[in-house]
C-alpha cells in the first residue's frame, strides 16, 4: 500500500481506513506476537506498527506494558506476558528514560559509573528477557532538544550528547555480542528527521509521547523493517531500467560517448552516485538484474563505459529486449529462482512502472519519479533490503548465482542429466547442528518458502533448544562442487517418539534444486534413525501458497501416503507419508557425503 511506503504522509490520520483495507486483503498472513515494553507512551506506536506489519503480510498480536513499566515487566515478568509468548519484544526507551546523566562536578570516574549504571539497567533487562528465546528490538538513544553546554556538550565528558554517544556505542557492542538483540537506530532516525521535527515538547507534557506525531509512523516503519528482516521477508533482488536510470541519456540514440555517467557534469555525477549505491547493495549480497527496452548489444555496451561503476558482469539476469517489462521481470524471478515478492523494480518511466505494478502486484515498484537524484531515497528509506546481520552467506550469495550460471551452461553439453550431475563432482557435508551454523539455520527456516514441506518457522532460541535435545535428529547439509561452494542449503529436523521419527521440518534452498541433495539428506536421516533403532519415518506436507514443488517429494522418496482416516489432523490438501525403515536402500547417487 503506497501510503505505507516512503515518503509517508497522513498515516495516523488515515489509520482506521488503512487498517480496514489491509485486513480486507486476501493474503496468507504470518501471525506474530509482539510485546512492547515502553519507557514512554506507546499506544499510537503500536497502532502504526500494526499497519506497517500488515502491509508486509505479518498479522501481529500485541502486548503492551503499562506506561513506563518496561523495566518491571522485564525483570518481574507478569504472567500475562509469560502466557503471551512473544515472538518479538520491542523495548521502546529513549533519552527521556536516562536517569543518571553526569553532573558538572562529577569526576571522570563517577561519569564512568553513571554510564555503567545506565548500561546495567538494560543488560539486566536483556538477560531477564532471554528466557523468551525471542528477538529483542532495543531503541538506542536520540539526543535531547536542548544542550545547555552548547557545542561543548558533544566533547566534554559531562555533556549529555557525549554521554549518549557513549551509551549508543555500548549498545552497539552489546548487540554485536548478543544474538537476538537488534538495535532500532532512533539516533539516526531522529537525525534524519531533524530533532526539532522528531521531538514535540507539547506532546511530551500532554501525553508522554517521547516523539512527535510525525515521528511515530517513521519510528513504526523503522521497527517494521527490522521485523521484516528478522523473519526473512526482505527483498533480495534489485531490477533496474537503463536509460535515464543507470545513466543519463539513451544509449541506443546517444551512443556510448553520449550517455551521462562519470564526474564531468552534475547530471553525470548523480547517475554515478546511484550506480555506486547499487554497487554497495551488490557487495552485501543483493542480486542485480536489468530490465530494459533496448537492443541487448547496446544495453551491454553502456556498462563498458570507462566511468560506469557497474559492469555487465554485476548483473545476474540481463533482459534487454522489446518484450513487455512485466514478462521480462517474471522471467527474471524464474531464472534466479526467487519469488516475485523478493524483487524491487526501479524505472524512471511512470508508464513502465504502472504496467509492472499492475501485472505483478507482489513486485515492489516505488514511484521514484524521473529524477535519479531521488532514487536512492526510495530504495534506502523503504528498507527493502534491510538485513539484521551480514552473514557469510549473504556476502557470498551472488557468487552462488554466478556459479549456477556456469553450471547451466555446462549442463547443455551433456547427453543426460545424470551424466551432468556426475560431472559436477559434488560433495556434501551432512551433520548434526553445530553452534557455528545456528544463525544460518534459523535464517533458512524463516526465509525458505518453496522447497519447504511444512513451512514451520523457528526462532533462534528454538533452534538452539532443538540442537541440545536428544529426542531430535537435526541435520544440516552443505553442498559444494567443482564450480564452487553452495554453503549451508538444507535442513531436516526429525522428532523421535516411540520408534517413529516425525519430520517436523524439511527444507532446501532453491539454489541447489535438482542436484539430488534431498536424497543425500534422506540417506543420512535414515542412517541416524537406524542407529537409534527407529522403525519408521513420518513425513508431513503442509500446502502453502508457495510450496507446491514439493507436494510429491515423499512419494519420490518411496514413502506411502497414510490413509486420511488416521487419527492425525489433516486438511484436504495436506498429506502425511510414511516409510518403513526395515529394508531401506541408499538413494543418493551423485553426491559424496562427509
Amino acid at each position: 500500500m503506497t501510503s505505507l511506503t516512503y515518503p509517508l504522509s497522513n498515516v495516523l490520520r488515515k489509520k482506521k481506513s488503512l487498517k480496514r483495507k489491509l485486513l480486507a486483503e486476501d493474503r496468507s498472513w504470518i501471525h506474530k506476537n509482539i510485546a512492547i515494553l515502553g519507557g514512554s507512551t506507546s499506544a499510537e506506536i503500536k497502532n502504526a506498527l500494526e499497519l506497517f506489519l500488515l502491509n508486509v503480510g505479518i498479522k501481529p498480536e500485541f502486548y503492551e506494558s503499562e506506561y513506563n513499566k518496561y523495566y518491571e515487566d522485564a525483570l518481574f515478568t507478569p504472567s500475562e506476558l509469560l502466557e503471551f509468548k512473544p515472538d518479538i519484544i520491542y523495548i521502546h526507551t529513549s533519552q527521556v528514560n536516562i536517569a543518571h546523566y553526569p553532573k558538572l562536578q562529577d569526576s571522570h570516574e563517577m561519569i564512568a559509573q553513571d554510564l555503567q549504571k545506565e548500561l546495567d539497567k538494560y543488560q539486566s533487562i536483556w538477560r531477564a528477557l532471554a528466557k523468551f528465546d525471542c528477538a529483542i528490538i532495543q531503541n538506542n538513544f536520540d539526543y535531547p532538544l536542548d544542550r545547555s553546554l552548547g557545542n561543548l556538550d558533544a566533547y566534554d565528558p559531562h555533556g549529555k550528547s557525549n554521554f549518549i554517544n557513549q551509551l549508543n556505542q555500548r549498545f552497539a557492542e552489546a548487540a554485536q555480542e548478543q544474538k537476538n538483540l537488534y538495535i532500532n537506530d532512533i539516533n539516526y532516525l531522529s537525525a534524519y528527521m531533524g530533532l526539532k521535527n522528531w521531538f514535540d515538547r507539547s506532546l511530551w507534557y500532554q501525553a508522554k509521547y517521547a516523539m512527535s506525531m510525525d515521528a511515530i509512523p517513521e519510528l513504526a516503519f523503522n521497527i517494521s523493517k527490522i521485523i521484516k528482516a528478522i523473519f526473512g521477508k526482505s527483498s533480495k533482488c534489485l531490477v533496474l531500467d537503463l536509460d535515464h536510470t543507470c545513466w543519463g541519456g539513451v544509449i541506443g540514440d546517444d551512443g556510448l560517448n553520449g550517455i551521462q555517467i562519470g564526474t564531468e557534469t552534475a547530471v553525470a555525477e548523480s547517475f554515478t552516485a546511484f550506480q555506486s549505491y547499487v554497487r554497495e547493495l551488490k557487495t552485501r549480497g543483493i542480486t542485480l538484474a536489468v530490465c530494459s527496452k533496448n537492443d541487448h548489444s547496446n544495453a551491454q555496451e553502456g556498462f563498458s563505459h570507462p566511468d560506469s561503476i557497474l559492469k555487465y558482469e554485476d548483473f545476474t539476469a540481463f533482459k534487454a529486449n522489446w518484450e513487455p517489462k512485466h514478462q521480462n521481470i517474471a522471467q527474471i524471478a524464474q531464472d534466479i529462482n526467487i519469488g516475485l515478492d523478493s524483487l524491487v523494480f526501479i524505472d524512471d518511466n511512470p508508464a513502465e512502472r504502472a504496467i509492472v505494478s499492475s501485472q505483478l502486484a507482489s513486485v515492489a515498484v516505488p514511484d521514484v519519479g524521473s529524477d535519479v537524484i531521488r532514487f536512492i531515497d526510495y530504495i534506502d528509506r523503504n528498507g527493502y533490503f534491510e538485513t539484521v546481520s551480514l552473514s557469510q552467506d549473504d556476502l557470498q550469495r551472488n557468487q552462488y548465482y554466478e556459479d549456477n550460471k556456469k553450471r547451466t551452461e555446462v549442463e547443455a553439453s551433456f547427453q543426460s542429466y545424470d551424466e551432468f550431475l556426475q560431472s559436477l563432482e559434488m560433495s556434501a557435508e551432512i551433520k548434526t547442528f553445530s553452534p557455528l551454523y545456528l544463525p544460518r539455520i534459523t535464517q533458512l527456516t524463516n526465509k525458505t518458502n518453496q522447497f519447504n514441506l511444512t513451512t514451520k518457522r523457528y526462532s533462534m532460541g528454538e533452534i538452539e533448544q532443538i540442537s541440545t535435545q536428544p529426542q531430535y535428529i537435526k541435520l544440516y547439509g552443505k553442498l559444494s562442487d567443482k564450480f564452487g561452494d553452495n554453503g549451508l542449503i538444507a535442513i531436516t529436523i526429525g522428532r523421535v517418539e516411540h520408534k517413529t521419527c516425525h519430520i517436523d521440518l524439511w527444507l532446501m534452498s532453491c539454489r541447489v534444486l535438482k542436484r539430488g541433495m534431498e536424497f543425500a539428506m534422506l540417506d543420512e536421516l535414515v542412517k541416524q534413525c537406524q542407529s537409534q533403532g527407529i522403525e519408521r519415518l513420518l513425513g508431513y506436507y503442509y500446502k502453502s501458497a508457495k510450496n507446491s514443488m514439493v507436494a510429491d517429494m515423499y512419494k519420490s522418496f518411496g514413502f506411502s501416503q497414510v490413509a486420511p482416516n488416521e487419527p492425525v489432523t489433516q486438511t484436504h490438501q495436506d498429506t502425511i507419508w510414511q516409510l518403513d525403515l526395515s529394508d531401506y536402500t541408499v538413494q543418493s547417487q551423485h553426491i559424496k557425503v562427509n
Binding site: R13, K16, S17, R20, A43, S202, L203, M213, D214
Partner: protein, 81 residues
C-alpha cells in the same frame, strides 16, 4: 480563510480519523457525541488539525474548549491573525 472553510477542513479530518465518510459535525459536537473520541484520538485530531492548518495550539489552550464550535472560533483567530 472563512469560518466555513475551516469548518469543512476540520470535518474532513474528523471523517479520516473516525473512518466515517459521511460523518457530519456541528458546532455542538464534542467528545460525548462521538463514541470513538477518546484521549488517544483527541491527540490525533489536534495534531492533524495543527498540521493541516499550519497552526499550533498552546498547552492548556484546548482544555477550556467545550465543543467543536469553540475550537473553530479559536482556530479562526489563529489562522487569520
Amino acid at each position: 480563510m472563512t469560518r466555513e472553510e475551516i469548518f469543512n477542513g476540520v470535518q474532513e479530518i474528523f471523517r479520516d480519523i473516525f473512518d466515517e465518510d459521511d460523518l457530519v459535525i456541528e458546532d455542538s459536537t464534542n467528545s460525548d457525541t462521538i463514541e470513538d473520541w477518546d484521549s488517544l484520538n483527541h491527540i490525533n485530531l489536534v495534531s492533524a488539525i495543527e498540521k493541516e492548518f499550519k497552526i499550533r495550539f498552546a498547552l492548556g489552550e484546548l482544555q477550556e474548549l467545550k465543543d467543536v464550535g469553540a475550537m473553530i472560533d479559536l482556530m479562526l483567530t489563529k489562522i487569520n491573525s
